[in-house]
Symmetry: C2
Subunit: 265 residues, 2 copies
Amino acid sequence: MDKLFVIKIGGNVIDDENSLSILLKQFASIDGKKILVHGGGKLATRLAAKMEIPQQMVDGRRITDAETLKIVTMVYAGYINKNIVAQLQSQACNAIGLCGADAGLILAHKRQHPTIDFGFVGDVDTVNAVILKTLLDQSIAVVIAPITHDEKGQLLNTNADTIAQEIAKAMSNSYETHLIYTFEKAGVLLDVTDENSVIPRIDPIYYKKLKEPVDGHSRIFAGMIPKLDNAFAAVDSGVKEVIIGKAEQLKELIAGKAGTTISND
Amino acid sequence: MDKLFVIKIGGNVIDDENSLSILLKQFASIDGKKILVHGGGKLATRLAAKMEIPQQMVDGRRITDAETLKIVTMVYAGYINKNIVAQLQSQACNAIGLCGADAGLILAHKRQHPTIDFGFVGDVDTVNAVILKTLLDQSIAVVIAPITHDEKGQLLNTNADTIAQEIAKAMSNSYETHLIYTFEKAGVLLDVTDENSVIPRIDPIYYKKLKEPVDGHSRIFAGMIPKLDNAFAAVDSGVKEVIIGKAEQLKELIAGKAGTTISND
């Protein structure tokens, strides 16, 4: 099977022109099939402020009302997505920018919650692997904005981490799929205050050990546990490995020379 | 050769939710291969006003400065494009929304003018017919936003009429291509004050006659002449026919039952 890299980049990279440029150069130079999933960044928040659209947070989550959906559609699927594509084209990387409505790529439904109305937030149902395969097999890199649709004409704001994971899972029947999450740290740290304490590899046995409480606390930062649970869910669903690390080190992450690799092997 | 319909819709349709919905239903029901090229509409102007970005007009043309480019990228390639795609998906029409940077679809260069700096306005160089053919041959309808790129990382604001024409020309080697321009009138009128005076067919001989001055004026409205010159340029470059008429009558336009058909036959 051919290798496929599914790479998720977050707002911190998108907001920093220089970091983004470094990341995209490294992405362009990856040999083989690749998908980039990007998040939002601060532009949407700034635009909402400028347009005097109040941003509602409930339980630490942003509510997507109709006006906010308009903004994230413009910023994520328009401005950010097309600028990434144009930059990749300038690096001789033939890229195509899509959102989840395009070619029926990601079908989702409006989030149901017993007490909170999240508005136009979507949870993923299915990924159309066929269209992705068609594009990848023509040596086109796919850049995906975190906007999905419900097949009834409604666009939905969807978590980019989840999109990356669902795409990696859906593609793992066709490719040896490597899912890379970039964030602000160099990887999963044994000591959250020490950037040099990156754990290079975590398998299920070691993960169990890491979660065991020492003096009432797990050995790794509690905030990492949902990320790692998701990573193991991905490898359990056929993804070859999940790599977590710094965006600026993308090349090293892919080569297994930086970050933390999560796998069942 | 298979038939291909390239349909351009303008701002007047996009700004009217009801007209757009009617148009998209008719577009979805077209049997066979189809491309929709859309223009802008008033949302970009409203957003620029809200964001206090002054819009500069020189010689009746809008100057695209960096901030205006940001807005048209967000509105055209983001909001309008993705909402059209989502609506088509809800009509069981599998559509994909692209701008000219995506998959290197439309290469352009910054407009050169001896005295006016148009800013980030692009004039079309080439159309990538291969990627369009790949998508069309998978029964995917392509929705195109009037944003192009220069292959050096720069997005460019580009006239949607020109994009529709260049795409139709590029595709006419592979398909029997029909180019449809929708606008606010029912077609080319013999008497501009009478909507019932639509000329059903214009060939080069008749066109010459229509342009002959009677009492110092051409027989057709002078404003139509550049449109018709472009239409004949398209048919001279291999496009089967150009049809001009009302967006709400798309079905009739395609069936040759409304509007004005321009061809060399």
